[in-house]
């Protein structure tokens, strides 16, 4: 069994989403842009944060990483 990473789960990439708040686990390594496409998210509508730092679309996510996908679209008038 793969050792759990410091933050990730079972050595895979843990992805945290909001609205509604949920978590999912994906197989690494994979690029941020691939992850967004797989989740059918428009990159204009989100930012991806790994360990409090923004990561660009070509960043490779590895097993053990935890990433937050933060929506940036506000709804107020």
């Amino acid at each position: 069994m793969a050792e759990a990473g410091p933050t990730g789960q079972d050595g895979r990439v843990l992805v945290k989403l909001r609205n509604p708040t949920r978590e999912l686990v994906v197989e690494g390594p994979l690029q941020v842009s691939v992850l967004l496409r797989r989740l059918e998210l428009n990159r204009e509508a989100v930012l991806v944060i790994r360990n409090d730092e923004l990561v660009a679309g070509d960043t490779r996510l590895d097993d053990g990483d935890t990433v937050e996908i933060r929506p940036v679209i506000s709804g107020g008038a």
Binding site: E44, L47, A56, V72, I73, G75
Partner: protein, 325 residues
């Protein structure tokens, strides 16, 4: 991906500018966009005293931070809307920001100062929460800006907000709204100047600015915003943006540069002459302004109101000095 400015590792890609930036140069890029918006649309003069409307969200806190860095003398204005946990949390984000910087923050609490909150006002009047909220905010921004002698009120409307509103106005050819959709509204009839310095930044950019600058903002959305039609317009525009980067900026900025003046001519006749509200003294087309009507319909009897007058009759101010370098 490498930063366009320093060739270091990039943290964000901005396809509409055909550029990638590291954190440091993203910050510089955002400040430069705001500087250019202010200059192009003649929003502010150097060193102006600006009242910044802050909600605790990414846009208004980024705006406050950027205007400070551009050398304006800023005061934050936060309005307690009384929308449950959402409002309580948002106030904390704003206070934290102000405290960290020693920035001047003015707070007006609707319940203690005016005897109503937004959910209650929506229940007791025929307005939607957002309509009651918008009316309350505009009135209080105007009043506090004039009372404090500020040159202008700055709000955190970003490119996505403005492009979505423009999209909606075009869909229905709302000529009167199109005529008024300017990023700067000059002072008139006792109303202060209104400016929107973030119109050259998308919300992804303002959120990224906060993250790389260490500005802690409220990510949670106002619960009243659910079902807002502007969200749909934003998504539609983002779909277009994904396949043709730069479309949103082009749509909005070209409207400002080439089209809005034509609508202004059409809208000029519609402007009513303003009188003075007999109750609060604000400029108003009728004897009692819309805000005072809302307050009297939505407000609780004074006995109930007095339980909550923690803040008192005047806006509370926290003063400090800016730790600018």
């Amino acid at each position: 991906m490498k930063c366009r400015s320093c060739r270091g590792p990039a943290v964000i890609d901005l396809p509409r500018h055909n550029a990638n930036f590291c954190g440091e140069h993203l910050v510089a890029f955002c400040r430069e966009q705001v500087r250019r918006a202010i200059a192009e649309f003649e929003m502010l003069e150097e060193g102006d005293r600006v009242l910044v409307a802050v909600s605790g969200g990414k846009d208004s806190l980024a705006l406050w931070d950027i205007l400070d860095h551009l050398g304006y003398e800023t005061t934050g204005l936060y309005i307690g809307l009384g929308i449950g946990d959402y409002s309580e949390d948002s106030a904390e984000f704003v206070r934290h920001f102000a405290r960290e910087r020693g920035a001047e923050l003015l707070e007006v609490d609707l319940a203690s100062r005016h005897g109503y909150d937004i959910p209650g006002a929506a229940q007791r009047t025929k307005r939607t929460p957002c309509s009651a909220c918008g009316l309350s905010k505009r009135h209080i921004f105007d009043r506090e800006a004039l009372a404090g002698g500020h040159a202008a009120v700055a709000t955190g409307h970003n490119l996505d907000d403005e492009a979505a509103v423009l999209f909606g106005n075009v869909l229905r050819w709302q000529l009167d709204y199109l005529a008024r959709q300017r990023p700067v509204l000059p002072a008139r009839d006792g109303l202060p100047r209104k400016v929107k310095p973030l119109v050259r930044l998308t919300e992804r950019e303002t959120a990224a600015y906060c993250i790389v600058s260490g500005i802690d903002y409220q990510v949670e959305e106002c619960p009243m915003s659910a079902g807002n039609k502007h969200i749909g317009y934003k998504e539609a525009l983002n779909d277009i943006e994904a396949t043709s980067p730069g479309s949103k900026a082009d749509f909005y900025l070209s409207f400002q540069r080439r089209a809005v003046q034509h609508f202004e001519q059409l809208g000029a006749t519609a402007r009513e002459a303003l009188r003075t509200c007999t109750s609060c003294g604000a400029p108003s087309p009728s004897d009692t302004c819309a805000f005072c009507r809302l307050e009297s319909m939505a407000g609780q009897p004074v006995e109930l109101r007095s339980e909550r007058t923690a803040i008192g009759d005047h806006a509370t101010t926290t003063t400090g000095t800016m730790d600018e370098t």
